[in-house]
Subunit: 404 residues, 2 copies
């Protein structure tokens, strides 16, 4: 405890910090390609340097590409994905505003918390953790409001591994004059998000999931409808740092100084987006789907069960039930120590009950599916849980895919 409270005044020696090379198959950060790490190590530029301004323009173009949008205001917030959520909510919502908040995991709960901090009046729509939200309940919640400002929903619940179908939600929201706000932290770059096609008004993500960059920035996009709502606010946005009307002036044509952009993180994001662009969205989605299917086949061949019903499964984050009698934490610790593999545990009501295996960005790879299935089998056997190998079943998925 003393060392935690004291400044480092005595001349202790700090050893060079050399992190081990992990295989990051948890809920994020996902593995970062060497090309991106090297981009981040490039010499710094000033945040108003003409060369950096060009870098910012390319980031905006490439973010529009991955979000599938023509929204003018499509930028990275200078903080992590959670700040993206906060930016998405504090900009449109004013005290007294009614907001339908859909909750089926940690991130829906967090939205509810933030709506409360904005002085919003939330109507919660809930589903059991591990299942998606029933759109009919959203319809009913909207009908129960007098003048709803927004519907907020998580597309990819990182805490449960559930993919939420977005179809029809924007019509529902727009029919009531409400905005559709979507959390795509764990889907953008791994699943189709289709901001324009799905009529999403505000969408945010993180860099450290399917985009494959380090954590530190939160891509966001605001539709013209959302910007109009923000322009008509009666009060100032409660966060100066996240006030999109100020942030967009730095990213837009005016280049007005707001805050010093995190230069190196933007280098990393630009490089990561270029990799997404080179691969192509459809190919990238297909890769995420294919590796997910192989993992599921392997997991089930091992005698384990997925926690989410087949149509609702994320490709990027796989929730596997911890078998009875197996110690969740000990298995994860063994994977980390013996195989350098990180997977995630469950949160909230799913704590100790599921593992969360992320296959995101460059981490979504045949080699990693093999690695984690193999390591999991050995770890389970060490726990006295006798199980078959899942590798062959996974390989069959790849071979059938290659043949089809």
């Amino acid at each position: 405890m003393t060392s935690e409270r004291q400044p480092a005044t005595e001349r202790r020696t700090y050893e060079p910090f050399t992190p081990p090379r992990r295989v990051l198959l948890g809920p994020g950060p996902s593995p970062v390609e060497e090309r991106i790490l090297q981009a981040m190590a490039a010499p710094l530029l000033g945040h108003l340097d003409p060369v950096f301004l060009r870098c910012m323009d390319e980031i905006q173009e490439l973010l529009r590409f991955v979000f599938e949008t023509t929204n003018r205001v499509t930028i990275p917030i200078s903080a992590t994905g959670s700040a993206g959520m906060e930016a998405a909510l504090v900009n449109p919502i004013e005290p007294g505003d009614e907001v339908v908040v859909c909750i089926h995991g940690v991130f829906g709960e967090r939205m509810l918390d933030i709506v409360g901090r904005c002085g919003g009046r939330p109507t919660a729509v809930r589903a059991e953790w591990g299942t998606p939200i029933d759109p009919e309940q959203i319809r009913a919640a909207l009908a129960s409001c007098s003048k709803p400002k927004a519907v907020a929903i998580v597309h990819a619940e990182t805490s449960t591994g559930v993919l939420q179908d977005l179809k029809g939600l924007s019509e529902m929201a727009h029919d009531h004059g409400a905005l559709l706000i979507v959390d795509a932290v764990t889907s953008l770059g791994g699943h189709p998000v289709g901001v324009d096609r799905n009529g999403i008004d505000v969408c945010y993500s993180g860099t450290q999931k399917c985009l494959g960059a380090p954590p530190g920035l939160a891509p966001v996009t605001f539709s013209e409808r959302a910007l109009e709502v923000i322009r008509n606010r009666q009060t100032k946005v409660q966060s100066w740092y996240l006030d999109i009307s100020m942030v967009e002036k730095y990213w837009g044509g005016e280049r007005t100084y707001h805050h010093t952009a995190p230069i190196s993180m933007n280098y990393a994001l630009r490089e990561a987006l270029q990799i997404v662009y080179e691969e192509g969205l459809e190919a990238r989605w297909a890769r995420h789907q294919r590796n997910h299917r192989a993992l599921v086949a392997g997991v089930e061949a091992m005698g384990l069960a997925m926690n989410v019903a087949p149509p609702d499964r994320l490709w990027s984050l796989n929730a596997v039930r911890v078998p009875d009698g197996v110690d969740d934490g000990r298995v994860r610790a063994r994977l980390l120590s013996d195989d350098q593999i990180e997977i995630g545990g469950g949160l909230g009501p799913l704590k100790g009950k599921i593992w969360r295996i992320g296959l995101m960005g460059s981490g979504s790879a045949r080699q990693n599916v093999r690695l984690v299935l193999d390591a999991l089998q050995r770890a389970l056997q060490a726990e006295g849980f006798d199980c078959a190998s899942g590798v062959e079943a996974a390989e069959r998925v790849y071979e059938s895919g290659a043949a089809s």
Copy 2:
């Protein structure tokens, strides 16, 4: 305009991004040493990986060292320095709270804006841009309040180059039951800040100034007195992302998940702090002072004038008056294009009237003083402003220092 609005759907080609190597002598970011860039390019760890948790512990120890504090809650906020300001204000201040806000530049104005967004009732104490705040005015402002919650003041005004003396301010604030909140963005690591010695309750900084890391994190520290005020809040902190009572649980012994820490930025900060630690605070301050004195001698030998009176000058940020008839922007553009040197222009009422020459972190170096004096002379001559060389006068400062 079209390219700005459109996603990158047509198959355009993105060239590899290779930023030029600038000499960053503006208001920040400052130059980042290769050792730090390489630290940032290390492989990612999960944000709950035991090895990363150790890295976090070292960062906290080293931050206590540079802040000169034993404050338990001494951590980097996962966003840039401006978010550090927001965190410093939104955590203690509740709607209706009286706050004395000292304003002598851009960053005091920003504090005022944020206090307003918190629902605080500010009493502004102003000084002309380029001069420090008169402590007697702070005393009078405190006396005019019924129950002031805080005094907020900028130690190092990046927009003007003014150093604010902090002596006596904490007694003044504490006598009224108010907290002392200090912006040390451009002083921490370059000037003594002395959080404990100066009785500062909340202090924040940025990584991209005298600490010499890239922008992206905001070191903050909260005294026990400040934490007590925060614990006694009647309302939730308006920002979920910056709520220190939640953030500290991730950085403290509990390691409760809050948001995904920006791993690579923390690697960079750790390395930068290790460099500060190896150099020693006193040696680092002396270096910043020495290079500042040499620059001033050079600037004055050239026939240019400093904009701030000698006792109030920052060592890290030097405000030099633009001579009559000289085009500010053209000179800066020439330094950038001909010499790869970035310096800053003035802001607000000082726009076009001063240059801001930063000598921060590793940028505070004899070689850079020579470079910028030489380049400035050539740029001014190209503008038709005939001036002598400043290099010799600067060198004399180093030689007298070496002799003394």
